[in-house]
């Protein structure tokens, strides 16, 4: 952080000013001229919050993708399928038992188990053959998509939200004033706030695990320099299996999360695979903080884009990607 400030003083100032502007836009009531130019504050705040919570979901999916890629150079194009599979399983479990938490547990364990089977049964046999591994993941995604279509059909499903997360809660943000002068506070769905908090906790836990535990340090060392990892005599296969299980499990959990506040249907797998790709390309391949930054950026651009430039919402997202590729091909927080 300090080194960044030292190296790029101008950029630091710009980022700081941008953050202050954003904070001011969120916290203070908007003056009339601003509401005239870019619509009401409520719309903007809603888009920002939707963007950040969508980013939280993207982070859950993309963090596993980026870890697997960073450590094993395996572009897991079946990652979106793991997301959707986890979501469907979670839906089925919560539908039968009525227990939301059990849905997460089952989705995580089932997808982690699938990840372990894939790593041991498939990818270990073709280590170092990056292209062949990628081709295998394409095949797996085709097969899984058809299996899921077979079992769950083409309908839309939504995971039931538990009672205490129903409805909206008041946030300490003033969106405007009533005619009698009392402030109007922003209302926001509780389940989305929950997702945001949960993602932050997952992110912090991952950061701690990677920076404070022995296995985490090995993984980080492996991402930076894979030959060194095998040279240190670590049981590298065990680390690989653990990472693949964690990444796949996270995708499953994300599927339940996504199934709770969005919907599950065929095609969602591709959408979230692409989201992971873009997030990781923007944030920096193999970097967890990069995945977080990329996820929030992409989430925000999608939501703000769909409010302010509805016809070109997707284009803004990909424009970010193209700009990053053109000027910083290793990603915003990727190692050059």
């Amino acid at each position: 952080m300090n080194r960044f400030v030292q190296r790029h003083p101008v950029w630091s100032v710009i980022i700081l000013l941008g953050a202050i502007l954003l904070l001011w836009l969120i916290v203070s009531p908007w003056p009339a001229w601003l509401e005239e130019t870019i619509d009401r504050k409520k719309v903007f705040i809603n888009a920002v919050f939707n963007g950040v919570t969508l980013g939280a979901l993207y982070f859950l999916v993309a963090s596993g993708f980026t870890l697997i890629f960073g450590l094993m150079r395996n572009v897991n194009l079946a990652h979106g399928s793991l997301y959707l599979f986890g979501g469907y399983l979670g839906y089925t479990v919560s539908d039968y038992t009525g227990n939301w938490y059990l849905a997460f547990l089952v989705a995580f364990i089932a997808m982690a188990a699938l990840g372990i089977v894939l790593q041991i049964g498939v990818f270990r046999r073709m280590e170092g053959e990056e292209l062949r591994q990628t081709l295998v993941t394409i095949g797996i995604s085709i097969v899984l998509a058809d299996v899921m279509l077979w079992i769950w059909g083409g309908d839309f499903y939504q995971v039931e939200t538990p009672d205490w997360l129903y409805g909206a809660i008041d946030l300490p943000i003033i969106t405007g004033f009533k005619s009698d002068g009392t402030a109007v506070y922003m209302k926001y769905p509780a389940v989305r706030i929950f997702i945001l908090v949960a993602s932050i906790i997952v992110g912090i836990l991952m950061w701690l695990a990677l920076n404070r535990t022995r296995i985490g340090m090995m993984i980080r060392a492996g991402v930076d320099d894979r030959e060194m990892l095998s040279a240190t005599g670590v049981r590298i296969q065990l680390v690989f299996v653990a990472v693949f299980a964690l990444g796949a499990g996270l995708a499953g959990v994300a599927g339940v999360v996504g199934g709770t506040f969005q919907a599950l249907a065929p095609g969602v797998d591709t959408r979230f695979l692409l989201a992971s790709l873009v997030v990781v390309i923007v944030g920096g391949m193999g970097s967890i903080p990069g995945a977080a930054l990329g996820a929030v950026l992409i989430g925000l651009s999608e939501q703000l884009g769909s409010v302010y430039v509805p016809t070109y919402a997707v284009v803004t997202t990909f424009l970010i990607m193209v700009l990053v590729l053109a000027f910083r091909p290793q990603g915003l927080l990727g190692k050059g």
């Binding site: 292209l131 990628t134 085709i142 692409l274 016809t311 990909f318 053109a326």
Partner: protein, 366 residues
């Protein structure tokens, strides 16, 4: 990247083949087969109906050309680009926009001999820019970046109504009538696509032994060394994208004429991945693999549902069949059907077995 390891036909350049007292063994062995195949392809319209000519062979030639452009980048350049189908669709869209279509508010109704070159130029520019972005990172990153760009185009097509007419796309984009011959008729279209596919196949073969093609293979094997003998590696890679884009663009225009329409659906993630599947099934080490893969794919696409139905299986499990077949190929023969073929041949001759290591293709080296 063992999949991309491939043999150089006969391990000799054209210049030296001529100097040999006799033709290399592989050439003598292949020749009758090639002649038979050429004869067969020439006379297909004599004994097939228009459906076979138009929907089976025509489609396979065009998909084969797009897969060929991927093969050129992947097999010779080591760059697995998933954007080739998108380039083809850009060309298709541009013919619809500059030429004639049912969307009169957008189409400019230029004559086809203006619209087609313009469409090709725009598609090549698109392919080149994509390449310039993709070559900034290398190796397996290329797949991710090109897939993301392909997806961007798909979503752009779905959302943009002012230029690309959104979800509907363009209908009634027809092949022109040339010297009184309607190229949209089955037999003329068959010969048109056959000749263009043949041309692009031999063009790729020829270029692979030219300085440009050799340099590309050198870059695949060792980019750092290429720079150390005076080659601008980045410029060469981008030029390869441009060349591949040209082939894909020509195929894309024909594909649009064949369908009579172009819409985002044609450029979707499925079709984009299918091109890679075709190239891999056929064998990504040699240009002919693209066409072998294409014919297998087209036959499966067209008849598998009926076959599944007839033998009492659920026809809707078609995709699972494709996925499992693809997995089997990747597992057991990374060099596709070509790899299976050369393995079968070398096991029959018994000599080349030692060279077939790790699923690689046997080499025809004396």
């Amino acid at each position: 990247m063992a999949v991309l390891d491939q043999d150089r036909p006969g391990a000799g350049s054209g210049a030296r083949e001529a100097s040999r007292a006799e033709l290399p063994a592989w050439l003598r062995r292949i020749h009758p087969v090639v002649w038979l195949l050429a004869l067969f392809l020439l006379f297909v319209p004599a004994f097939t109906n228009s459906f076979i000519q138009f929907q089976i062979f025509g489609w396979a030639f065009l998909l084969g050309m797009i897969a060929l452009s991927l093969m050129f980048l992947a097999g010779y350049g080591g760059m697995v680009s998933l954007v080739q189908m998108t380039v083809a669709c850009v060309a298709g869209y541009m013919t619809a926009i500059f030429g004639a279509s049912a969307v009169e508010s957008i189409s400019l109704f230029w004559p086809w001999w203006v619209a087609v070159p313009v469409a090709i130029v725009i598609a090549v520019i698109f392919g080149t820019i994509t390449g310039a972005l993709a070559v900034r990172t290398t190796g397996i990153y290329t797949i991710m970046i090109t897939l993301a760009i392909a997806a961007a185009f798909y979503y752009f097509g779905e959302q943009n109504y002012s230029i690309l007419n959104g979800h509907q796309g363009f209908n009634s984009v027809h092949a022109p009538v040339l010297f009184g011959v309607d190229l949209h008729d089955a037999t003329p279209f068959y010969y048109l696509s056959l000749s263009l596919a043949t041309l692009s196949y031999f063009a790729v073969l020829y270029v692979s032994r030219s300085p440009f093609g050799l340099a590309l293979q050198g870059i695949r094997d060792n980019p750092r060394r290429m720079a150390a003998i005076g080659f601008n590696v980045t410029a060469h890679r981008i030029a390869a994208y441009a060349f591949a884009a040209f082939i894909a663009a020509v195929a894309g225009i024909l594909l649009t004429w064949q369908n009579g329409q172009i819409s985002p659906f044609t450029a979707g993630i499925g079709p984009v991945i299918d091109i890679l599947v075709i190239a891999v099934i056929g064998g990504i080490g040699h240009p002919i693999g693209a066409f072998i893969g294409a014919i297998v794919y087209v036959v499966l696409r067209t008849f598998a549902i009926d076959i599944l139905h007839n033998i009492g299986l659920d026809p809707s499990r078609f995709n699972m069949l494709v996925g499992l077949g693809f997995l089997a190929i990747v597992f057991f023969s990374p060099d596709g059907i070509l790899g299976l073929w050369s393995r079968w041949r070398s096991s029959r001759s018994g000599a080349g077995l030692a060279r077939v290591t790790g699923g690689g293709r046997g080499r025809d080296v004396e």
